[in-house]
Amino acid sequence: MSAAVSNFPIIAIITFFLGAFLIALIGRLNKVLRNVLVFISVTVPLVLMCLLIKPVMTDGQIVAYWMGNWAPVSDWAIGIGIEVDALGLFFGLIVTLAAFVSALYSFTYMNRDDSLENYYTLFLMLSGALLGLTQSGDLFNIFVMIEIMTMTIVALTAFRVDYDGALEGGLKYMVVGSIGSTCLLVGIAMTYRQLHTLNLAQIASKLPGNMNAVTIAAFAFLLVGFITKASLFPFHPIEADAQTVAPASISLMISGVITKCGVYGLIRVCYNLFQNIDAPSVEILITGFGALSCFICVTMAFNQHNFKRLLAFHSISQVGYVIAAAGLGTALGLNAGLYHAMNHLLFKGLLFLCAGAVEYAAGTLDLDRLGGLSKKMPKTCALFLIGAASISGLPPFNGFASKWLIYQASFEKGVSSGNFYFVVICVICLISSVLTLASFVKVSQSVFFGQLNPEFEDTKEVPAAMRIPMWILAVLCIVTGLFPNQVMKYVTGPAANAAINVGTYIDTMLGQNTAAEYGIASQATTEIGKIGIWSPVSWLLLLLIITCAVCLVSVIEDPKKTTEEERFEYNKSKGRIAKFSRDGFKAAGKELPEAENAPAEEYDKPGHHRNPVLSGSTMTFTGERDPKYEVFFSGEMPEYSQVGGSDLFWGFKHSWRRYFSYWRKWHSGIVNDYVLYGVAALAFVLLYAVLFV
């Protein structure tokens, strides 16, 4: 390994923090300088992480760096290490990509806020903490990074202090999150007590032979700590609140990265440190948490009236998928989980940015008021549809590939272990997928389609600078969906293998054959079966050909035009139409300036749907617009009548009313209740660990 490469991770982390301090110093002097600084500080880490792909992912090296050059003395780690294996790099890539996209989006999105230098300082500190967390090889360092992350994310959530509920979201995140922090700290203290080391590799080498009541309790505490950070089931309300009120670019970071850090911690703890993921009791516990979050949050999303809150519940549900797959303990399951973790950043990030764009343009996120924006914001609408199709798992988008793997992995696990429990997990995942689709149908109908609420008549498409980061994510959604085998071979496969092969990790950090001394067998690299059953590219080609053929056939003979304007022009050119205006008859084909203006007042009347784009040129001889082109109202006068938001799925919701009202009450919004749920979960996990693990 060349010496330069081993410096990359620390340079990347330092770049974020350095950027943060520089912006705090000189950010308020010059806006352009500040943005340039931010851009540099998010680009450099991304580039460095990309440069690490070849040595770490492809060649399977592990990049080690000892802070202050305190290298291990006789197999004993005495310094703080930065250890980047493929798993760490995988999550590092997620962090840096998210930071890059989010910063790019913030430049335009946040331009209506003030004291932005504080925003960027906090944002870069957050990114640095997240990257440090994924690259660190020291348990206590991970805790410190998590605390920096919590602190900055709370500040960023409450950044728009006047935004409804922002302070509240921040406070709840802090209070309930502190349970997780305390658990982590206690878990770390107990581990240290047993092993007298904090280095991950060293813990991994010594722990499996040293299991006793204390280490099992430490395992339970660490598990609860990371479950809090991944905001799985009983901890999820804080996450939902924070994502609802944070600026969209920060919601992306919370849902796309912070939850992923919890996932990363869980994988590290279960696969590397304690290596007890093969124990059926651990598998059942972790997949159970995942599946519960998956199902409960997807049904909670049904009830939401706020675009971002709906997305927030979906992100917990998707993290539930990730955990349910990663907790299976098989190579395929871990692969599926990592794949979905990556996809979740891409599509959920895209959706949050779309929500931000809607809020930027229309000024509200209320699903009961919005509607019909696809005519005003067609480009955002297209991006949203890509994201929605991805998250609902429609082929050939990326959500489908990873969900397919999750179903395969969980069902295979069920069959191979003979445990029907995993089949239930598989069914829950499959059903949650269609429920996800249902809530995105709800969003698309109540935000982008349906009728335009007259109060959003002047909505404009968002600037291109905001759409570029969205396009980055959208393109990645499509690419990772079209080439699942390549993604598994070059990205998630090495990461999963790195997590499973603890021996290599230990050897790299503490010298050759250390792992063998402690009796940790090195696993053979597992080849993951390809998704050979499904070749998205050829299907897409076929679909394009068929669709084009069908379209062509339908377009070949059609002299008649299909919109009002075109038809009017067409008929006028044929001399078929005589046109009247309110002031009297005028010959066809002449310009009718009064007619352009005449109907305007008419359609300003309440209840009459006016469309400024089409009004004017579309009258028939009655002086009214052609009613043929109004939506069908059984002959009644058309009026604004949007079926959206809470109106959709009432039959379904009615059948589930007891379930829904129970969970509505459960999410009471009182911080004490949330703490209580957290404490209950902690007690449950402790008890479960003592009894079964």
Binding site: T150, G165, I179, T182, A189, H196, N303, V671, N672, V675
Partner: protein, 116 residues
């Protein structure tokens, strides 16, 4: 003596959690968070304690096989953790002040715009 420390630290954490779960006043919730922190800190310091050990301050020449001292690492961890705890407290106090200004109350049952 170590055992009492462990019992006391878990008692403090439990007390803190109880406080956070039942007290409706935001300041009291904050105090609960502080108690959790102190409990955890006490635990870490106790973890590194060796009965009869001296303070871990040596020069290289003084260090020998026979020197018996308490583990310095947990003390460093505790220091870090105390700093983090202070930051958390400051952060929450800041939020509480703004919440008081905006909601006019510190009652956690009334601060529930985000729910359902």
């Amino acid at each position: 003596m170590i055992l009492e420390n462990f019992v006391a630290s878990f008692f403090l954490i439990a007390l803190g959690l109880y406080c956070m779960a039942t007290k409706k006043n935001l300041i009291k919730i904050l105090i609960g968070m502080g108690l959790c922190d102190y409990g955890a800190n006490l635990l870490i310091v106790s973890v590194g304690f060796n009965p009869g050990g001296t303070a871990p301050i040596f020069t290289i020449s003084e260090l020998s096989r026979d020197s018996f001292f308490v583990d310095p690492v947990p003390q460093a961890l505790t220091l870090t953790s105390i700093v983090i705890g202070a930051c958390t407290t400051a952060m929450v106090l800041g939020l509480v002040i703004r919440i008081k200004a905006k909601y006019g109350t510190l009652d956690s049952t009334k601060i529930r715009k985000l729910r359902g």
